[in-house]
């Protein structure tokens, strides 16, 4: 077991190093582009840093941008722990927004504490339903959940378009793609008189909860076994499929909270363009953090800073908006490259640790 621990630590260190290297390489490559267009990359990066963390307003906006990324990233991670790849968090975010909007516009209450929990539940049910479909298709007839979740993002987006152009159209502003404004009580509380809202508390809370539950509970243990070796888990008579379906449902529900908090706290209504790709960015955050819940929180805040600091690129450095997209794409690209490299490095120890699990299981069964 001592050597097992050592292996684990080594792998964790390698992955952390890998993520950092990936980001570093991405910044270096982008620096070359910046030099080519005649900008000083160090100044540009300092500009991004100051736009993200330089003052209280910037930091609050960083947290605002980080919140949906964090929730989406956690959603991806929950499915990933049980070996399910959920690329559909963007769609689940939109479904969450739909669920919350339905409740906000149709349920008439007098107090926030009556309406908001119901909006949250509505969002979670819709998001969970959206990820349940690919999950059940995967465990019953073996359809790859990577493809179905990804494609269902587009269906979700079109569903939102249909609702805001059709039955939920804003009666005061016909033909502009949005619903009517929510009542004031449907607004999620904000923190410290900024745009930061309770969503970030949900995010950090969920991360802490899973960071605690995963290593300490029996369900957490079984989940980890399923995630690392589903065949072995099957052999130990764990209900692998049931676990995986539930993981996907919870994953979708967590991503849906991102949609709920966006419509409730930030936009105050459902509209197209609600998420500028938060789901995909959350996916990036999850992989940068190697599915570790606490790391996801940290990485989300850093990526949130990158997004909100991007304003300063335009306003101060006079660079086109696409610069940050290039940087983000570059990080993803480098991450995939280092991932392959690390897998090669650790493939030997992976085999060792995989043979480890069935032994443990057999003794338990």
């Amino acid at each position: 077991m001592v050597s097992g621990h050592w292996q684990k630590l080594r792998r964790a260190a390698l992955y952390t190093l890998g993520s950092l290297t990936a980001v570093l390489i991405a910044f270096l490559i982008t620096a070359v582009f910046l030099l080519l267009v005649g900008r000083n990359p160090i100044e540009v990066y300092i500009g991004i840093y100051q736009g993200a963390f330089g003052d209280s307003f910037s930091f609050s906006e960083t947290l605002v941008a980080a919140t949906p990324i964090m929730l989406c990233g956690l959603g991806v991670a929950i499915a990933q722990w049980l070996g399910m790849m959920n690329v559909g968090v963007e769609g689940q975010l939109y479904l969450g927004a739909i669920g919350a909007t339905y409740v906000a516009l149709n349920c008439h209450f007098t107090h926030s504490w009556q309406l908001l929990p119901l909006m949250l539940v509505g969002a979670a049910i819709c998001g969970g339903f959206w990820s349940f479909i690919p999950a059940i298709l995967r465990v019953t007839i073996g359809v790859s959940e990577v493809i179905t979740t990804l494609l269902m993002n587009y269906i979700a987006l079109l569903l939102v378009e249909f609702l805001i152009h059709g039955p939920w159209e804003d009666p005061n502003n016909v033909s502009w793609p949005q619903t009517a404004a929510f009542p004031a009580i449907a607004e999620l509380p904000h923190l410290f008189a900024t745009r930061v809202h309770l969503g970030i508390v949900f995010g950090i809370g969920i991360a802490l909860l899973f960071a605690f539950l995963l290593p300490t509970t029996k369900i957490g243990f079984i989940s980890r076994v399923i995630g690392s070796n589903p065949d072995a888990a099957e052999y130990a008579h764990y209900k692998v499929k049931r676990y995986q379906v539930w993981a996907m449902i919870i994953s979708g529900a967590v991503a849906a909270l991102a949609g709920f908090s966006q419509v409730s706290a930030i936009e105050g209504r459902l509209r197209s363009g609600l998420s500028p790709g938060y789901g995909y960015t959350g996916f990036l955050a999850c992989w940068l953090a190697r599915h570790n819940p606490i790391a996801i929180v940290i990485v989300s805040i850093l990526i949130g800073g990158l997004l909100s600091g991007a304003d300063s690129l335009q306003l101060s450095a006079k660079l086109p908006f696409a610069t940050v997209n290039i940087l983000q794409g570059m990080i993803f690209f480098c991450l995939l490259a280092t991932e392959q490299y690390i897998n090669k490095l650790t493939s030997k120890s992976n085999i060792e640790s995989n043979t480890e699990s069935p032994k443990v299981l057999r003794s338990e069964a």
Binding site: G51, V64, W176, T194, R195, E267, G273, S308, S312, Q314
Partner: protein, 363 residues
């Protein structure tokens, strides 16, 4: 306790930013910020606003400094960009896309010392520091309609729009009225892409319209470039809005509407500087020269050019009104009775299309 102290510190820091900005102002050039909905190199709406911004900075050198942000989404993100511009000292904010009003209402409430200008959007809610500017662009499109009706052989005209909001419908209606003023048999087929900027859908819609028999394709989008290029590939004429694309599609360009925003921005900023600015809705007709009739393509016959130019001149000299009754909508209902003309209130809330327009208006 420590948390509480940190909270207070945070709040104090928050309060400081705007105060600092206004202290710095005295004697310094006025900072003006522009929010653009798309890239400023789009050969369209955003580029024309950016040209206006550059004109403003040149024309009022020393008195005005400008800053801009492009591709700002029409969601709460716009609010963040406005806040940042204000934190950098901006005292005037021009929001050059329809969907920025929600964010603006929130930000404007926090910054009573900053002047906000929203384009093309009727607002129920009034604020002491929000003005609305409505530079009309339907008048040049009336003349463009005349050109389209003169060159069409199929008597079917295609029209692609991003969103069916009032000022866009005013453009569609003016175009149709112009076309039918010289050729009453012309039909306009309207298609909506639900986005100001979605090149894939725009190209697809162009193809579909051409296949359905339309031989002139007009568009009101962020940029007409995609539609014009797609039409050129199908050897079909095009008419654009916002930018003169005669150089880009020389063989198939007929005419269109183009902007000259520079003088408009100078006018508003001068009002702010000399204190005569008021939080009102200001309409600018083609008479002011901000919306212009674009150049004619080489294939447009001289007689047609003369006819279209004359019609535009009659409008700009107030001899003729575009929306002069009787005008019926596509369902046959009389919208503007004989002897009357549409007022600004009617135009800024136009949510119907004139008879002769068919297709995608979902309502």
């Amino acid at each position: 306790m420590i948390i509480r102290i940190l909270l207070y510190l945070w709040l104090v820091l928050l309060m400081q930013n705007p105060v600092k900005a206004s202290n710095e102002l005295s004697g310094q050039p006025l900072k003006v910020g522009f929010l653009m909905g798309g890239p400023v190199t789009d050969f369209g709406w955003n580029q024309s606003h950016n040209d206006g911004r550059i004109y403003l900075e040149k024309h009022m050198a020393g008195k005005v400094k400008t800053t801009f942000a492009e591709s700002v989404p029409e969601s709460s993100e716009a609010g963040r960009v406005m806040e940042r511009m204000i934190a950098q000292g901006a005292k005037v904010i021009f929001a050059t896309s329809y969907g920025y009003l929600d964010s603006m209402l929130k930000v404007a409430a926090r910054h009573p010392d900053v002047v906000f200008m929203q384009i093309n959007r009727y607002s129920e809610q009034k604020r002491a520091n929000i003005g609305v500017y409505f530079p009309y662009y339907f008048e040049p499109l009336y003349s463009a309609g005349i050109v389209a009706a003169r060159v069409t052989k199929t008597h079917k005209l295609g029209f692609i729009v991003g969103h069916v909001v009032p000022n866009v419908l005013a453009g569609v209606n003016a175009f149709t009225l112009g076309a039918r003023s010289v050729n009453p048999g012309v039909k306009v087929n309207l298609v909506c892409t639900n986005s100001w900027n979605d090149p894939a859908t725009e190209a697809e819609a162009t193809k579909a319209l051409v296949e359905s028999g339309a031989d002139v394709i007009t568009s009101i989008l962020d940029s007409s470039l995609t539609v014009c290029n797609a039409a050129a590939k199908l050897s079909t004429y095009c008419i654009g809005a916002a930018y003169d694309l005669n150089k880009q599609v020389p063989k198939t360009w007929l005419t269109g509407q183009s902007w000259n925003y520079g003088p408009l921005y100078v006018r508003v900023v001068e009002q702010v500087i000399n204190g005569s600015w008021k939080p009102v809705t200001q309409y600018y007709t083609a008479k002011e020269g901000y919306a212009q009739l674009a150049s004619f393509g080489s294939t447009v016959p001289q007689a047609v050019r003369g006819e279209a130019a004359l019609a535009f001149k009659k409008i700009t000299t107030s001899k003729v009104a575009v929306f002069a009754g009787p005008i019926k909508d596509s369902s046959g209902k009389l919208r503007i009775p004989a002897g009357k003309t549409a007022d600004n209130h009617c135009i800024e809330q136009m949510n119907w299309v004139v008879s002769g327009v068919e297709g995608a208006l979902t309502k």
